[in-house]
């Protein structure tokens, strides 16, 4: 029996049906041929291969709702297919939120506390605000505290040096701006 192997082992693996990360390796042996599939654990195709065609959720999914612009159906969205156009986000809004929450692709606190409200809280078109460099110090400080708890003093010293270096750069920047003003 000949087994096909990928030429290079560097490519990321994803479900052959829907592109979610692989969690199940399914091997099918028919006669002399072995076929391997990588699938996500919720893959309806995997379910139908394992338990037959009448799997709940695969056959009973309503197929009526579809995007009027690109033709993507609700069933396809539930199968993990990609969306077809910006209008899909309006048509399948609830389903998209449900899928994101199910796959843990959105912080839990956002879906729980913001039901019906915008999920997005980042930049909006045209926004020019630069990222605040003081955030760097906050995160270094947080890692430093954890390092001290572990009593890893050498690493803590390195982190302190990094914090000092950023503070020095900020001071110089403020000094320069002050002179210009």
């Amino acid at each position: 029996m000949e087994e096909k192997k990928p030429d290079d082992l560097e490519r990321p693996l994803e479900c052959c049906q829907c592109r979610k990360p692989i969690e199940v390796c399914y091997t099918e042996s028919v006669g002399q041929q072995i076929t391997r599939f990588g699938m996500c654990k919720d893959c309806p195709v995997l379910m139908s291969k394992l338990y037959g065609q009448n799997i709940k959720g695969v056959q009973e999914a309503p197929t009526t709702l579809c995007c009027g612009a690109c033709g993507v159906t609700l069933e396809e969205v539930r199968m993990g297919s990609q969306l077809g156009c910006p209008l899909c986000y309006e048509i399948f809004s609830d389903e998209v939120v449900h899928e994101l929450a199910l796959l843990e692709k959105v912080p839990q606190k956002v879906t729980v506390s913001k039901k019906g409200e915008p999920l997005h809280c980042g930049r909006i078109p045209g926004q020019t605000q630069e990222i605040d460099p003081s955030l760097k110090i906050l995160e270094l400080q947080q890692v430093l505290n954890e390092t001290l708890k572990r009593e890893d003093y050498e690493q803590a010293a390195r982190l302190r040096d990094q914090i000092r270096a950023i503070e020095e750069t900020q001071k110089k920047g403020r000094h320069k701006r002050g002179k210009r003003e």
Binding site: L9, E10, R11, G84, E117, H120, G122, I124, I131
Partner: protein, 353 residues
């Protein structure tokens, strides 16, 4: 980049001459779609070409992009495409037709813009210096320039709209490549990293699985693109990277104090593999290079500068090697023999101290 010849890149190699010990590089990506158009998989060839022209014309007008080169998807060979993906540390999983797709590069060799892959425009920047904020700002400058001419698909609820809903919102993915051979080779991975669960962050190897780290390279990536601000994504990645770097440094310091014979043996065998192999694949190569790099960092190996070893993480991969050695992969699909010969030459002067 002509189809008949292997490409000679006319952009620089930003990761060249870096001697990073642990945090080797990061790739920051922004995913955007032009408003009012279907996403690429739902466009016919003519419309794809239309969008490709609109985007590349807008990119050509960006003052921050010097000497840009535009490669039409249908004229780029698989080798050339893989070369670009390896150079920019990008995993191209869009397997659809190359028609209407394009790849845009610029002089510094840091920025790649994929047109009509999964989304209309995927901006990537490779950053070997850990300057994540500055790198993201460079992408924003290009993004804002394009947006002035071509408004992006955006909704107040979902943010920037992407083909894959799990990338909507900020459309920002940050992947940091961290080299952790000391943790892996001393069997501490499961305790130090594997059990650690960081909210919104995923750990994986080059192949996408956390339990198999090819070349002891750990990829730290954000899981969430929506529900967070861009600065929070960046800061959570940096915090996760610094934690891993700290743990790796601690293990290395312990190894310097108590030289473990078992590890010296592994490194010595890795040198032997690189100096004597007759045929060798990418995974085995990266694993051996990883051990030699660890040996250099610990002061147990000499004969090759650390920056040259870092470059080999790129140069020994399939497309880079085929390009460097001018191998036609359609004639010689397996280049394992040529790789072994190349490595024998590079590692000839290397030895244990």
């Amino acid at each position: 980049m002509a189809k008949e010849n292997n490409p000679t890149p006319s952009f620089e190699r930003p990761w060249e001459k870096n001697s990073n010990a642990i945090w080797l590089a990061s790739t920051i990506s922004l995913y955007r779609n032009i408003d009012k158009f279907h996403f690429p998989q739902h466009l016919d060839k003519a419309k794809k070409e239309n969008i490709s022209n609109l985007i590349t014309d807008a990119l050509k007008e960006q003052p921050s992009l010097k000497n840009i080169q535009v490669f039409a998807g249908e004229k780029v060979s698989p080798l050339e495409r893989d070369f670009l993906m390896e150079h920019f540390l990008v995993f191209d999983t869009a397997r659809e037709s190359q028609y209407g797709r394009a790849y845009v590069t610029e002089q510094t060799g840091s920025i790649l813009i994929q047109v009509n892959a999964h989304d209309h425009m995927q901006l990537h920047i490779v950053d070997p210096e850990g300057k994540l904020e500055e790198s993201l700002e460079k992408l924003f400058v290009i993004e804002r320039g394009v947006e002035e001419k071509l408004p992006f698909a955006f909704s107040n609820k979902f943010g920037y709209l992407t083909t894959d809903a799990s990338r909507c919102g900020t459309g920002l993915i940050v992947e940091s490549f961290v080299h952790i051979p000391a943790i892996v080779q001393t069997g501490l991975y499961e305790d130090e990293i594997g059990k650690e669960s960081v909210e919104g962050i995923s750990f994986s190897g080059l192949q996408g699985m956390p339990e198999k780290l090819i070349g002891d390279l750990l990829i730290i990536k954000n899981k969430w693109t929506v529900g967070l601000k861009e600065e929070n994504i960046i800061s959570s990645i940096r915090a996760a990277v610094l934690r891993v770097v700290g743990k790796e440094q601690s293990v290395r310091e312990k190894l310097v104090r108590d030289k473990e014979e078992a590890l010296v043996d592994k490194i010595s065998r890795a040198i032997g593999t690189l100096q004597n192999s007759f045929t060798i694949d990418t995974a085995e190569t990266l694993q051996a290079i990883s051990l030699v790099k660890l040996g250099i960092e610990l002061g147990w190996v000499e004969g090759i500068p650390p920056e040259n070893v870092n470059e080999l993480f790129f140069d020994s991969r399939r497309a880079h090697l085929a390009t460097r050695l001018k191998i036609d992969l359609s004639v010689t699909p397996q280049i394992h023999k040529e790789r072994a010969e190349f490595l024998r030459g590079v590692f000839a002067p290397v030895k244990l101290t």
